[in-house]
């Protein structure tokens, strides 16, 4: 359990997705579910995870922007992760330059895992392919 609380940050080593999915499923069995628009209820702020994958969709919208990333697991299987974040207005104010997120680019996302949904997370930091780190 402790080994997957902080995932490897290097894009070449960030593929322990199956373990993370299992963790998310286990947490979902025990976590209370009350609200959609609530970070502590929907995301486990005690665990930080990192995924690296290819950006397949970037939706800059209100009330919640989101990315979809194709992430290759250790077993070679590619799965989709849904990365949620704040409103596009919030992200813009935080200095996120939307045109720097290009579909097809490899991104690393650091954040909190979803409690009740597999392969979801809340973005805390995005690392662009040039190494730029952005946090809302």
């Amino acid at each position: 359990m402790a080994a997957i609380q902080r995932m490897p940050r290097s894009p070449s080593r960030a593929n322990n997705v199956a373990a993370l999915s299992l963790l998310a499923a286990l947490v979902a069995l025990t976590a209370p579910v009350r609200a959609h628009h609530s970070v502590p209820v929907n995301f486990d702020q005690s665990k930080e995870i990192t995924i690296t994958g290819k950006l397949t969709e970037a939706k800059w919208i209100n009330p919640h922007s989101r990315f979809r990333l194709d992430v290759t697991q250790d077993d070679g299987k590619t799965v989709e992760w849904l990365v949620e974040m704040g409103a596009v207005n919030t992200m813009r104010r935080a200095g996120f330059e939307i045109d720097k997120f290009v579909v097809g680019d490899t991104l690393t996302i650091i954040g909190w895992p979803g409690r009740d949904r597999e392969r979801t997370m809340l973005l805390r930091t995005a690392v662009l392919k040039d190494g730029t780190r952005l946090s809302p």
């Binding site: 609200a35 959609h36 628009h37 609530s38 979809r68 799965v79 989709e80 409103a87 597999e118 979801t120």
Partner: protein, 225 residues
């Protein structure tokens, strides 16, 4: 006789001036970002408790349809701006969240039938409001609401609002850069005692932005493969 009238006019003018002097200057831009929120204890009636327990965030949350479910819910949204403009005859509150534009007439709270605000389009749970100044606070009273939810967030998600709900918001300055919002919900259909919520908004240097919520984007989504 004439002298008496002049004295009365003078007293009324002085009182009006003093009242205007007390009026808090809350105009400006505010944002719930790092501000503090506290909910008082809620004491639900049996019917209120049933509604609270029946709440399902996956289908009952009006914000999934880009709709505000109560004024407390509107104030609770973090990281979006509220712009307040105080005018002589009204006060305007522009909430970035869901692009809610609220213009409330300033009235005499003792008047029998004061002019009320125009309902917010497509958001019947927000009712109609009047406002007045009371010492260092702007007071906003809201009624005529449709059923909704005081909150759809955190452990307060699903606290109900009935048509009987009367909401009193008191806006005052804790200091020039911090706005206090004290909200009292009186709803005998759902609560045995008033529910009190306190929210603080720091002043913001940001400007109001368009929100443009689309219900198809507000839905809960899942990874697809």
């Amino acid at each position: 006789m004439m002298r008496g009238v002049l004295v009365i006019l003078y007293v009324v003018s002085a009182a009006t001036f003093a009242h205007a002097q007390q009026r808090p200057d809350i105009s400006g831009n505010w944002i719930l970002n790092g501000g503090k929120t506290t909910f008082g204890e809620w004491h639900l009636t049996d019917a209120g408790d049933r509604r609270f327990k029946a709440y399902d965030f996956k289908k009952d949350d009006p914000s999934l349809k880009c709709i505000g479910s109560s004024w407390t819910r509107v104030w609770l949204n973090p990281n979006v701006l509220v712009k307040i403009t105080q005018n002589a005859k009204d006060v305007r509150l522009q909430y970035e969240w869901m692009d809610i534009d609220r213009r409330i007439p300033i009235v005499d709270p003792g008047a029998l039938r004061p002019m009320r605000s125009v309902p917010i389009p497509m958001m019947p749970a927000l009712g109609t409001s009047v406002a007045w100044y009371d010492g260092d606070a702007l007071v906003i009273e809201t009624r005529d609401v449709a059923p909704g939810y005081v909150s759809t967030m955190q452990e307060w998600a699903g606290l109900p609002q009935s048509r009987m709900m009367r909401t009193i918001e008191r806006l005052s300055l804790a200091n020039p850069n911090l706005l206090n919002i004290n909200i009292t919900h009186v709803d005998p259909a759902n609560y045995r005692e008033p529910l009190i919520v306190n929210i603080t908004y720091p002043r913001s240097k940001f400007e109001l932005m368009h929100y443009g919520c689309d219900p198809k984007d507000a839905q809960i989504t899942e990874p697809s493969k």
